[in-house]
């Protein structure tokens, strides 16, 4: 077992072996945010003050805000309307200086308006617009049979669906949420008729959609700005000064064009940012977009390592905690139901909700909360298999063990645990395989792994990139399954292999 430990420890600590000043930039899980994150990173890098790190594609506004407050990131591109209504819950629109006054107690500030307004809008297919004479949002009231495809975030925000519905008295029931990356495909497939869009979305012209005019002026202004920690300008004054140059630098048309470069031409975020900032275009080979190129991209090694750290790092702790918990439950019937209920309930918490809950608790984003979440998810199979294995040892074997006169611990170690080894190993195998899948969610909080490609693929609507993340994850799950089958032969006592634990007469 020694080599398992050495590898686990190496996997756990390898990513931390780096020092020096860093500027950590966050971005949300949609194309524009990815691009702006890269622009910020490269602009800051024009002065040699700090190592720029771009934690890209973090789950949602709440996760980024938590990450910013806890210092896991230094800044990220945000929109004034979001800060105003969503983060500060202001009933009326505020000016930039008013926002800054409100953010001051949190140690945060807004600055550097980038120059464009990316507001929410509702869009329909252009042919529908013509056929049904849809021009304004208020026109929707005449067509209650239209099907809505709204993103989770839009549905949940006060400046989103609930507000629009009220202001325009729209006769629609609130629909189920749809991932924003999938909404355009759903439109093209005529699965939905109305979606929420950002006005700078590159796909609006591509999918021949028409934006409905906000005739009652509901949507607030969403000027793109930098939301940052107030300690940043003091800590990295040169980088901060360099970032000031981004003020007013990007128009809405330019932003829409940059989005199109990413989504329609398949140019990498880093390359788009480099070109835009005139930092030279020669470093990158011509961008190809095939699945194989994406699969074996330069990030493959890093993502694999991160994924393995997440899966096995959490699994080690789940084993160390889960087996004793299972033993405890088997030994003390009064606590058994409690233990099994708690680890069972943990399993039912949606992963993104659990992650969002862990970030403020642990005061950080990234690997630690992801490890904790995966650790919690992996507990149930291990605890339950240990518990059922121990309680299902045939009574005559339990009595034989007792009658020998071995002390409790020796009985457990020499007889009971070896007898239930097959059951415990099966539980660990289940946990490991589930972890491989769940770990893809960790990308939403900046913990990396194959999920990064899945998240980016979803955001870009790039199936090749999505598969370049999903397929290695699936192969890893298969490899783990196979590895455990080999481990079974090695760890399960010979007398128990290929037969059940029983002691019946022949």
């Amino acid at each position: 077992m020694k080599w398992v430990w050495i590898i686990s420890v190496w996997l756990l600590f390898a990513p931390w072996v780096q020092a020096q000043e860093t500027l950590t930039i966050g971005s949300k899980r949609f194309t524009e945010s990815y691009i702006l994150g890269e622009i910020i990173k490269q602009q800051a890098a024009t002065v040699p003050e700090a190592q720029g790190v771009h934690r890209q594609g973090l789950g949602n506004t709440g996760i980024l805000f938590s990450a910013l407050k806890s210092g896991s990131i230094d800044l990220y591109p945000e929109y004034t309307g979001t800060i105003d209504q969503e983060l500060l819950k202001n009933p009326q629109p505020h000016t930039l200086s008013q926002l800054n006054a409100q953010l001051l107690p949190l140690g945060l500030g807004v600055a550097v308006p980038l120059g464009f307004n990316n507001t929410y809008a509702l869009a329909v297919r252009a042919d529908d617009a013509k056929r049904l004479n849809l021009r304004r949002i208020s026109d929707l009231a005449q067509h209650p049979d239209l099907r809505l495809g709204l993103s989770q975030e839009f549905l949940g925000r006060q400046d989103g669906w609930p507000g629009v519905k009220r202001r325009y008295a729209l006769p629609f029931n609130t629909p189920k949420g749809l991932d924003h990356g999938l909404a355009y495909e759903a439109m093209a497939a005529k699965q939905v008729d109305v979606i929420d869009v950002y006005t700078t979305d590159a796909k609006i012209p591509r999918y021949q959609l028409q934006i409905l005019e906000d005739d009652r002026g509901f949507f607030p202004v969403y000027d793109a700005v930098l939301l940052y920690r107030l300690d940043l300008p003091q800590r990295l004054p040169q980088s901060w000064a360099a970032l000031q140059q981004l003020t007013g630098m990007i128009t809405a048309e330019q932003m829409s064009g940059l989005n199109a470069q990413a989504e329609l031409e398949g140019i990498s975020f880093a390359q788009i940012a480099r070109t835009f900032l005139n930092l030279g275009t020669t470093q990158d080979p011509p961008q190809t977009n095939s699945f194989w190129d994406q699969l074996w991209g330069e990030d493959f090694g890093r993502l694999t390592q991160e994924h393995l750290v997440l899966v096995f790092g959490s699994l080690v702790f789940s084993i160390l905690v889960g087996i004793p918990l299972g033993i405890w439950a088997a030994r003390v019937p009064t606590v058994a139901q409690g233990i099994l209920a708690v680890v069972g309930v943990v399993q039912t918490i949606p992963s993104l909700a659990l992650l969002a809950f862990l970030i403020p608790l642990l005061q950080q984003i990234g690997t630690l909360p992801a490890l904790v979440a995966l650790f919690l998810y992996a507990l149930l199979p291990i605890v339950r298999n240990t518990y059922t294995g121990l309680t299902e040892i045939p009574p005559q074997l339990q009595e034989s063990a007792l009658a020998l006169g071995l002390p409790n611990f020796a009985r457990l170690r020499l007889i009971e645990l070896p007898l239930v080894a097959p059951s415990i190993l099966a539980g660990i195998k289940t946990s490991a395989v589930i972890n491989v899948g769940t770990a893809t969610i960790a990308a939403f909080i900046g913990a990396g792994g194959y999920g990064e490609r899945i998240a980016a693929g979803l955001a870009l609507n790039d199936n090749a990139m999505l598969l370049a993340g999903a397929i290695p994850a699936a192969l890893l799950a298969l490899a783990i399954q196979f590895g455990f089958e080999l481990l079974d032969r090695w760890l399960i006592p010979k007398g128990l292999q290929n037969q059940k634990i029983s002691n019946t007469a022949d």
Partner: protein, 243 residues
Amino acid sequence: MITVTGVAKSYGQRVVLQALTHGFKPGATTVLIGPSGCGKSTLLRLLMGLITPDTGSILIDDQVLTAHNAQTLRHRMGYVIQDGGLFPHLTARENILLLATFLKRAALADRLAELAHLVQLSQGDLDRYPSQLSGGQRQRVGLMRALMLDPPVLLLDEPLGALDPITRSQLQAQLKAIFAQLLKTVILVTHDMGEAAYFGAEILLMRAGEVLQTGSLEDLLERPAQPYVRDFIRAQRSPLPPL
């Protein structure tokens, strides 16, 4: 020397053993016999400390059996159950040596060879897993495990119950020879009157948690304490072996 004084056990309303007082004869074989559910196995498990009596006390070598000393007192009592109760993840050898190894006893190899000779088990069989052994071999291994520490007392719960008639009669003969040779205090549970007659110097005939009669086979045959004793003996189909 094992003595029980006023020992009784109930599960809820169900009395599984009525208050019993009895001294088991040292160096001799006592048989507990009766129909299923009569309390004979319960008595054996009480003696092993696997369950605790509601009332009364159990004296083993002048020590009162308690929850605290049960574990060490078990080292003085070998316990054999139907089909041997062997641990399937261990070879026959590992089963036999498990406790002695844990207690760091010396000269294990000699003792193992001695026991193998006693129960007529080959060295090759010692390296097999229980699933690879026949029922009779498993029972022999169970007996070796019980005898490993050379305990003065042997408790056997239907030790031959799972065996075919031929193996069973062979093992009966072997066991009787072993008991006579080792001079152990043996308490053997069976439901078979022929087996009881074959082994028992003293027989306790039980029904519904109560000892109906204690005595030799002659006592039971000629002076049955109750009609049930006579009925039970008569109902046994297997012919009694000669005394």
